[in-house]
Symmetry: C3
Subunit: 178 residues, 3 copies
């Protein structure tokens, strides 16, 4: 089976995760859901359990906030859905990784995805379409995530922007035409 | 006359209202302008009067901040332009409606639009492409509006994203081809 | 040589400058890089020197924070890359120009671009896809830049939206097809 990287981006509550899940489910096979979210507070717990309830119950779920390249190497289903790069980058930043360190990890993540004999779906967030944030940490995050997204999109075979639950094709075959 | 729902989204000052007005004006018939804005302060009054001065003077205008489904039922022109879902969702939130209540109202709005023998143009805002907001109310609004937008876009016959006054087609016939 | 205006927009760290540079470099001729950035602090100095290191070393660079129409008139290479409208609008605001004054300058900028026998590439930012900013100055900037962008996009021959380093065509020939 061929290696395939699918990049899915969009704003918050744009329906990007739901799109990625529909995309993954088309295969008719088991999909590993690789979650980067960490449940620090009630709001995050609510978001995580709501997301979980929307996925097929038989999909194996693995939670890995930091070492996503290793987690990708350990996946045994043909398709893996990584949700999401944006939380992963945030987790690495809060764990003290430098910008260069995060970009080096991104290279490793893409190498792991390319080495897999199947489809790796990478979900991420657009965070750079608003006014410049007041605080330096948010500006640093915006920069780092922008670079992470550019690298992953450049390495992808297909890329989609989700807006209000609908899809614009950035790269590859328009989704409607499948 | 067939029922038709047209969804128009974009950022602030993206030209989405102007696009919706040009779209509505193509019919050559009277268009009801259904405004959800409330003039609480001078800044808002300025925005409302500037918007009004840009519309054809003979378009009937109705202001309804909350009960938009009923307002849609009362429209008698073939085309109605609702500007905008984003202020409507905000009005409902500040009037104390729950998230589920707002989504139930959205279903009613879409049923009213579908029951009309003509075109209902729904204008809204993208607000989820920036850094996560600091305050919980803004995060809740971003979630609710995202869900409202996804439902309306899913129910629409045509959907457009307006960027710098130009249009990307999310669903239906590309606008340029009319 | 024909006058040509190319409009390039996108979020922060979307890869819009890099796209504009690749676009400009296709000509195989010298490109004037017209920078509107001012190095007020270390963060900005870093951004500017990083951007500079990514451009061909032999491109003439001119810095002009305010009188961009005059700077465009003085360009002698066939192609000029203006990076960016968003900082220019910000510079004008902080220099005390009114909204109407900034829009009048935008008209002059477009006249200067149209009068040039060559390609003028205008890079800008989308800043209106987030939650309404708390402070009035940021809201004013969002409005003004939105109007500046709409005018420049309307006057352009080609327009592109850059997302995660990939390109959606807003107007003109899709970039991939060149």
């Amino acid at each position: 089976m061929k290696s395939r990287i699918v990049f899915v981006t969009g704003g918050a509550r744009s329906g990007k995760s739901a799109f990625a899940e529909r995309y993954a489910a088309r295969s008719g096979q088991l999909v590993t859901y690789l979650a980067t979210a960490q449940a620090f507070d009630e709001e995050m717990k609510d978001r995580i359990s709501r997301h979980r309830s929307e996925r097929p119950a038989d999909w194996p779920t693995r939670e890995e906030p930091l070492d996503v390249p290793a987690a990708l190497n350990a996946v045994s289903t043909p398709t893996v859905l990584l949700d999401c790069l944006s939380l992963w980058a945030s987790n690495l930043m809060f764990a003290g990784h430098s910008d260069d360190g995060i970009l080096a990890q991104t290279t490793q993540l893409l190498e792991a995805a390319r080495a897999r004999p199947g489809t790796t779906i990478l979900v991420t967030n657009e965070v750079g379409f608003g006014i410049v944030p007041d605080n330096a940490l948010a500006r640093r995050y915006r920069d780092v995530l922008g670079w992470v997204n550019q690298r992953c999109a450049a390495a992808s075979d297909e890329a989609y922007l989700v807006v209000s639950g609908l899809t614009l094709t950035l790269k590859g075959t328009p989704y409607d035409h499948f």
